[in-house]
């Protein structure tokens, strides 16, 4: 009993399941780190902070990549109106990626990082030890191979079938993702150059090409759940992703303020990153507009909630919280403080975690053979999960912002002799960190509630 339009869409299932497993791991390690912020010697020696953080951020990147790939395998056949070019290749790449990701995380946890660097021959081709790009070089090569195989599969499917706007935007986003990742192999020994080109992966991913992927997935969901004319949705999609790229490319400048770069970046970066909230604001208008003008009542209420939620939270996290500290005179004081952490948490959750959860919400009932939507009871649980996680993330962001403002006040604003040291400042912030940790526990409860929704319909799915 299948409710899929195309059988090959089912290859998305393992991708989504593994993404959710990694997501759970990410949250658990986040809680460990949150506790280490206030109880510094918690798990000392067993999971040092740098290891916990590497696992937390790397799991985030990898689960989102699994989510994006699952999303592409699900929506591309439907958009192209043809079966996937090679379902076998998709499954093979799933296992390659899953095994490589697991081994890498085990490597982080079981051996000291320097030993891992030694085992994987980092001295011959050093790419490790840079924030977010900590993966051993061999894992990076694996990621490139998986991406190429994936792009080939998706590209061939699109070539065979209908070429829609959603497909084209998604494809440009995915190609950009693969191309910009290549900069992770460039690690000059001059730290200034290293940092400059490091942003070609980090910024141009999250504030560039990933936004195209997000926009394409959101547009697909909106067409499906609202029944609004494709022409209208596609026109919006073009405008939004155009704004995202136009502001985001030169917006990279806001990372070049405090490097060995010419001062014009302070102007370019400030002006263009001030424009970066616009596409997110447009996305909010667009999502609510489409849902208000819907031509059908889709039975999957949870998916509609996720779609609206991601638009709002991405605007708040990536748009508003990004803008708060993006102007050079402000950033001079906030750069590298807890304000950055606050923005990062809400932006990643709102824009990327939530868009993957949106497509999972829409696709899972179909993939499991339940129908257009899971049962009412399961949807209620899913929506409880949505609210618990989302409200928890709002408060995590507020507490980290409070910590950041106080940090700037104590450590950055006073003159040299009067400023508190980093560690003294951190002691003064502990009340915010405790509150953040408590809210993190609520987030975990939300995640568990969300996971339970899959169990409710288990019998139906058989």
């Amino acid at each position: 009993m299948s409710t899929l339009k195309f059988q090959s869409q089912s290859v998305a299932t393992p991708y989504f399941i593994f993404a959710l497993i990694l997501f759970t791991g990410q949250i658990l390690f986040g809680l460990v780190m949150g506790l280490q912020y206030v109880v510094g010697d918690f798990l000392a020696g067993i999971i040092p902070f740098n290891v916990a953080r590497m696992v937390h951020t790397n799991l985030l990147i990898v689960w989102l990549l699994f989510g994006f790939m699952g999303a592409a395998y699900f929506l591309v056949p439907e958009e192209s109106e043809t079966e996937l070019y090679s379902p076998k290749l998709a499954i093979l790449l799933f296992w390659v990626f899953a095994v490589a990701a697991t081994l890498t995380v085990l490597g982080y946890l079981l051996v000291p990082y320097s030993r891992l660097a030694e085992i994987t021959g980092n001295e011959y081709f050093p790419t490790m030890g840079r924030e977010f790009l900590e993966q051993p070089t061999i894992t990076k090569i694996g990621i490139v191979i998986v991406c190429l195989g994936f792009l080939f599969n998706i590209g061939m499917t699109m070539l065979r079938g209908r070429k829609t706007v959603i497909n084209m935007v998604l494809l440009t986003g995915l190609i950009g993702l693969a191309v910009f990742f290549l900069f992770s192999f460039y690690n000059p020994s001059n730290i200034a150059m290293d940092k400059f080109y490091w942003w070609f992966v980090v910024h141009l991913w999250v504030e560039g090409v990933w936004e195209l992927i997000m926009g394409a997935i959101l547009a697909f969901i909106l067409i499906k759940i609202t029944g609004v004319d494709r022409e209208i949705i596609e026109k919006w999609l073009y405008v939004i992703v155009a704004m995202a790229l136009i502001s985001g490319l030169l917006g990279t400048g806001h990372h070049f303020f405090w490097l060995a770069t010419p001062e014009y970046w302070q102007w370019v970066g400030s002006v263009f990153s001030a424009l970066e909230p616009l596409p997110f604001f447009a996305m909010v208008l667009y999502a609510f507009n489409m849902v208000n003008n819907r031509r059908r009542e889709h039975p999957n209420k949870a998916a509609t909630l996720w779609a609206l939620g991601t638009a709002v939270m991405a605007f708040l996290g990536a748009g508003v919280w990004g803008f708060l500290h993006t102007l050079a005179p402000v950033n001079f004081y906030t750069h590298g403080t807890q304000i950055t952490a606050a923005h990062a948490h809400m932006a990643f959750y709102g824009a990327y975690a939530m868009i993957v959860l949106t497509i999972i919400s829409y696709a899972m009932p179909k993939l499991r053979g339940i129908g257009e939507a899971s049962s009412k009871k399961a949807q209620v649980l899913e929506m409880w999960g949505f609210w618990l996680m989302t409200v928890a993330m709002v408060f995590i962001t507020l507490f980290l912002t409070g910590a950041g403002v106080l940090q700037v006040w104590l450590q950055r604003l006073p003159e040299g002799g009067e400023a508190l040291s980093f560690m003294e400042t951190q002691d003064k912030l502990s009340i915010f960190y405790w509150a953040r940790e408590a809210t993190g526990v609520i987030f975990l409860i939300g995640l568990i509630t969300y996971m339970c929704n899959f169990i409710v319909d288990r019998k139906v799915a058989k």
């Binding site: 510094g40 706007v165 155009a242 136009i246 060995a260 950055r412 040291s421």
Partner: protein
């Protein structure tokens, strides 16, 4: 959106605008790469600095510290630690680093712990050279004060 603004126009803005701004970005990046030797002081890039950067990376120091504001926010900024702890004197800074790295972890209950990395004396000296090099890069006068 009215009918006068067609999907074709939206598509042209997407592809045209993206290519235009991508080229502009590439041009500025090339110009910056050419200008950087004036401010990054690469003439000071010795073999010791190169080795020190490898020590920095192989031990994932960025997983706790920030360097020029990027990294984790769990441990102090090290972009200017050469001035904070060494007063801008290389021998004094090396002496401080040798002592500091040896006594880790401090083992004060409840305090954040820096792991013991078991680095050789040579590696610690190289690390000090790398941090000195980083401190001397002209980063448009960031951070605001010595506390980083």
């Amino acid at each position: 959106m009215s009918d006068t603004f067609t999907k074709g126009m939206a598509r042209n803005i997407y592809y045209g605008g993206s290519v235009f701004f991508l080229l502009l970005f590439a041009g500025l990046a090339m110009h910056t790469t050419r200008e950087m030797p004036k401010s990054d002081h690469r003439e000071n890039l010795t073999q010791a600095v190169v080795n020190g950067k490898a020590v920095w990376e192989d031990n994932n120091c960025i997983g706790c510290h920030t360097l020029i504001g990027e990294g984790a926010y769990y441990a102090p900024e090290l972009g200017n630690v050469f001035y904070r702890r060494g007063g801008g004197d290389l021998d004094a800074f090396k002496g401080f680093m040798q002592g500091w790295m040896k006594i880790q972890p401090l083992g004060i209950p409840g305090r954040r712990q820096m792991p013991q990395f078991n680095l050789t004396e040579q590696q610690v000296n190289d690390l000090a050279e790398f941090l000195k090099f980083t401190a001397e890069i002209d980063v448009n006068s960031w951070p605001p004060n010595i506390e980083g």
